[in-house]
């Protein structure tokens, strides 16, 4: 109770108070100090509530980058970072789908197979049968959606945990992929085709990357500002203008530095643009729509959701459909990167990396906590380790061990923060 009131007081205090005669600080200095203080209190509150947010992840990413940069100075070169930003997209998109599934407290093991299946569907339709690229692309993505929907509906109806149903899916979809690829084995995609362009096209004009950074930061600022004004008008607790400015400022710095680095190489990669738009769009779906609220509710308590008249079957089906769709889209990006589809597409560590990315990024394995942005942070860490290992000629074995260690640490943080949250509630 005390904690709650304390926090409310913090928020309302954000409004300017009467100038204090004692302090001779310039006004702006005081405002910034107050914003920082605001942030610190907010952070401490979240810390005590067991919500670390993305801070540990960002620190790990920073550590990985610093270590590899000290081992090889090419690591943070524009070329390597730009390649990194394209390499994360395929697996990253699959990880975004995994985030949805983890949010309802389930696990999808079929995403690797679905990504391979979608790539094979595209390749066979387009290359072997001459179907136009755009049509083959749509059919490939819909194949993923269909596979996910079937799995989701089966889980919901049979009440069998999703990891079991999708384990069956893993084998089935892989079998179908091998079947449609036939004996040909490997299909090479058109080097100048639509799918190849997904990861090879760059907006070479400097304006593209800077423009995206400006639009992104500007939108975040405007939305937060509008919300603040509306809350202010209604006499509700709200963030201070300084707080919003600091937050957007940090975001803008990150965005513009990224844009600067990308422009030093070949400009803004189309793949990265698509990735960011998808992640931001799905983040809004999850956190700002009725559908997203249902997803989180299911992860909190299926029974509570049911008693609140939610259609559990529909939400579970929809979530696995999203993950199947994202797996298909990710599979097309992975195929685009190597402009070919083979019997090995979608196999190997892809599934594990996608799940690890979501969890490392901070999505809880226990359901109900996480955002699509965690997939971005997680895949950045995994791909940075992979790229750093490649650049420093470290054997794959070591790469696996290190990624495993990071994953273990992430799971540990997840379960600790969950426990601290519960302990907090009991107090």
């Amino acid at each position: 109770m005390v904690k709650g009131m304390h926090n409310m007081a913090d928020k309302t205090q954000a409004e300017p108070t009467a100038p204090d005669a004692e302090t001779r600080q310039p006004h702006r200095g005081r405002a910034v100090a107050r914003a920082v203080e605001d942030g610190v209190t907010h952070f401490r509150h979240r810390l005590s509530a067991g919500e670390l947010g993305s801070l540990p992840v960002v620190l790990v990413l920073a550590a990985v980058w610093i270590i590899f940069q000290s081992l090889n100075e090419n690591f943070l070169s524009p070329r390597n970072l730009s390649n990194l930003s394209v390499d994360i997209v395929g697996t990253g998109l699959i990880a975004v789908g995994i985030v949805f599934v983890l949010l309802i407290g389930e696990l999808d093991l079929s995403v690797g197979s679905i990504s391979g299946l979608a790539a094979a569907v595209f390749a066979v339709l387009n290359v072997n049968n001459g179907v136009p690229e755009w049509l083959a692309l749509i059919i490939a993505v819909l194949a993923g959606t269909a596979a996910g929907t079937v799995q989701g509906y089966s889980c919901a109806k049979t009440r069998v945990p999703a990891f079991v149903v999708t384990l069956a899916g893993l084998l089935t979809w892989n079998g179908i992929m091998l079947y449609i690829l036939g004996t040909s084995g490997t299909v090479n995609l058109d080097e100048n085709g639509l799918v190849a362009k997904l990861t090879s096209y760059y907006f070479t004009n400097d304006g593209a990357a800077y423009g995206l950074a400006a639009v992104g930061a500007g939108t975040v600022f405007l939305v937060s500002y509008q919300d603040m004004r509306r809350r202010e008008a209604a006499g509700m607790p709200h963030r201070s203008l300084q707080g919003i400015a600091v937050r957007t400022g940090v975001l803008a710095v990150i965005a513009f530095v990224t844009a600067f680095v990308l422009n030093r190489f070949q400009g803004l990669p189309l793949a990265l643009l698509i990735f960011l738009v998808v992640v931001a769009g799905l983040d809004i779906v999850l956190r700002r729509t009725h559908y997203g609220r249902q997803v989180y509710a299911l992860g909190g308590s299926v029974e509570a959701a049911r008693r609140a008249s939610l259609s559990v079957t529909r939400v579970q089906t929809a979530v696995l459909a999203v993950s199947g769709t994202m797996a298909a889209v990710g599979g097309l990006f992975l195929a685009s990167r190597i402009t070919s589809v083979s019997q090995g597409s979608g196999s190997g560590v892809l599934l594990l990396n996608a799940i690890a990315a979501a969890v490392i990024g901070g999505t809880s394995l226990f359901g109900g906590r996480g955002t699509t942005w965690s997939a971005v942070l997680g895949i950045l860490i995994i791909q940075s380790i992979a790229s750093g290992m490649a650049i420093t000629d470290t054997p794959t074995a070591v790469q696996f061990i290190i990624t495993g260690g990071v994953l273990f640490a992430a799971v540990l943080i997840d379960s600790l923060s969950r426990r601290s949250q519960e302990a907090h509630g009991r107090a």
Binding site: M1, K3, G4, M5, N7, M8, A49, G50, E51, D227, R230, R231, A234, M236, I284, R288, T289, H290, R293, Y296, A297, G299, G300, S301, E303, A304, A305, R306, R307, A308, S309, L310, G367, G368, R369, Q421, E422, H424, G425, A427
Partner: protein, 257 residues
């Protein structure tokens, strides 16, 4: 002709597997009345609440709403009728914040997106009626104390302007002051014409608040009482089983109300 009860149950049976948890239950809830539902642990009180709220639909028997037979097959049906419930286990989503829990399943939207501000405003308004120390509305519900959680569950049940309120031990986790705040609220809701089913083990509260009492014993009706005329000893002996179940006489007593 007297107005039919808001909600009436006739011959309701419910079994879980081979166990018959409720047998031939009769119950009436009238507008502007508080009915206390009493019984020992395991008597079937919570199960009866779940039958009415559509969480565990009845296997047999009839449910009437204002004299007309209705089907309550899922929580949605009960909500559409105007039945709101505070469950014994509260049924909150621990990961959602207070606002999210209150509006779960009936979010307010603005341009198709969740209108967090409006929902927060109404949540604050509602909670201010219920309690003096409002919890942090944006904290996940797991991080609240059990009393605060109970307050959230009660607030949620009031949200859709229900006509019948089912309260399954709503004050079990509350302190002295909060308990009296909630009981005051139930009193006011009765005055506004709601029908309330109140499950409580506290005879003092029941004596002070309820109009009628229905006793369950081993999944069967074991007596109906007018709280104003029946003595506390009479009611307690019915709960503990000292007075045996006499279905015929009960039915005539029920008709006499």
């Amino acid at each position: 002709m007297p107005t039919p009860p808001l909600l009436a149950l006739h011959g309701v049976c419910k079994r879980f597997g081979v166990v018959e948890v409720l047998t031939d239950i009769e119950l009436e809830i009238h507008a502007g009345q508080v009915v206390a539902l009493l019984g020992d642990n395991g008597a079937g009180k919570s199960t009866l609440v779940k039958v009415i709220s559509g969480v565990a639909p009845a296997d047999k028997g009839a449910i009437e709403w204002e004299g007309r037979t209705v089907q309550i097959r899922r929580p949605h049906d009960a909500r559409d009728l105007g039945i709101a419930t505070v469950y014994q286990d509260l049924a909150l989503c621990g990961n959602l914040d207070v606002v999210g829990n209150l509006f779960l399943g009936r979010e307010i939207r603005r341009f198709g997106f969740l209108d967090e501000m409006e929902m927060e405003r109404r949540t604050r308004h509602l909670l201010e009626r219920l309690t003096r120390g409002i919890p942090d509305l944006r904290a996940p519900v797991v991080s609240l104390s059990s009393g605060q959680r109970q307050t959230v569950a009660i607030a949620r049940s009031l949200l859709g302007d229900p006509r019948v309120l089912l309260l399954d031990e709503p004050t079990a986790a509350l302190g002295f002051e909060q308990t009296s705040e909630v009981l005051d609220l139930v009193d006011r809701l009765r005055d506004r014409g709601l029908g309330v089913l109140l499950i409580s083990h506290n005879m003092g509260d029941i004596k002070a608040l309820a109009d009628r009492a229905a006793v369950l014993r081993l999944g069967r009706n074991n007596g109906f009482f007018d709280v104003n005329t029946a003595s506390q000893e009479q009611i307690i002996s019915s709960v503990t089983g000292a007075t045996e179940n006499v279905p015929r006489r009960m039915a005539s007593q029920e008709a006499g109300w």
